[in-house]
């Protein structure tokens, strides 16, 4: 029976799904038979199975056969050149340090919040300065107005000769 491409693709997909169980000899009965039948007719799936198995088999073969003759010398150089590693900090010390750090963060955060929440002296001073500036501006305007009226008054006398 000639399979359509779609049917063949489906079979390949199903076969791919069962390949691991097939290779581990965990397939029995109809499933094993159908996988074997598919493998007998599909060269691509056969190649896939072969590649997977051949690659799987080389695991463990890649071993180091020769060791650098200066390995011991290098280890000794490393021991001499590097200072002993710092002793690992015990859990209780780490807990104490963490607690201290978090407490400090909370205190700083709280203080900052309080500091920003209260009206500061500089703010008060700036408000005072603003008030002073308003007063001086007002004074300047008043003075300017007086001078204008005075000039007007003098000009009027000069023109009309009357006070």
């Amino acid at each position: 029976m000639c399979l359509t491409n779609k049917q063949k693709e489906m079979n390949c997909r199903k076969c791919e799904k069962y390949i691991v169980d097939y290779l581990e000899n965990r397939l029995t009965g109809n499933k094993r038979q159908s996988v074997e039948e598919h493998l007998a007719s599909c060269i691509k799936c056969v190649r896939l199975v072969e590649e997977v198995e051949q690659t799987f088999k080389i695991s463990g073969q890649d071993k180091v056969r020769e060791v650098n003759p200066f390995f011991y010398t290098r280890v000794m150089q490393r021991i001499k050149s590097s200072a002993p590693e710092a002793r690992p900090v015990s859990f209780s010390v780490r807990w104490a340090i963490n607690t201290a750090v978090y407490t400090m963060i909370v205190i700083v955060g709280f203080s900052l919040g309080v500091f920003l929440g209260l009206p500061s002296k500089s703010l008060e001073l700036s408000r005072e300065n603003e008030q002073l500036q308003n007063i001086s501006e007002q004074y300047y305007l008043n003075e300017h107005e007086h001078a204008y009226y005075a000039q007007d008054y003098i000009e009027n006398i000069l023109v009309t000769g009357e006070e």
């Binding site: 791919e16 691991v20 690659t55 695991s59 180091v64």
Partner: protein, 193 residues
Amino acid sequence: MNDKELVNRLKQNDQEAFRHLVENYQQMVINTCNSLLHNIEDAEDVAQEVFVEVYRSIDNFRAEARLSTWLYRISVNKSLNHIRGQKINKWISGIGQVFSSNEPVVNTLTDNPENEPQRSMEQKERAVILNRAIDGLPENQRIAFTLSQYEDLSYKEISAVMDVSVSSVESLLFRARRNLRKKLIKAYKNNIL
């Protein structure tokens, strides 16, 4: 010199005993590191760290454990730390480059075909695909699989190194083999199917 005598002499800061330890176990330690790192230079570097730690912390060694078990444990831990460090470095230097590349990441001596001219090109390509698949396994499965396949350790020895039960090792190895085959199928199917 047996392990017990060796450990006693090491605890007395005997330099000759330390030389004996390094010479006896260097291949085992380098192999273990290499099987996890897939890079002989990195493996030698990490193996040196392993012996430095042994030299400094031999007083912490418990007499009931086997010396080789202790060495395996330090080798695995140091190698995994090295991998984590590499991952962080890769992330810092631009992880996008790794993801954008479809080419195999050829960054190791064993991965590099030019380093082993005697091996066929096909075998080298297989080794690269296999190493990438092993690296993709969950950490515990990777350790168990590596110790079993590359060091030929028994389930009992692996359980001692990993500090888990023998049944856990069996389960880890079963899942590791299964996942490895699944990863290999995934790696090959795009090229074949």
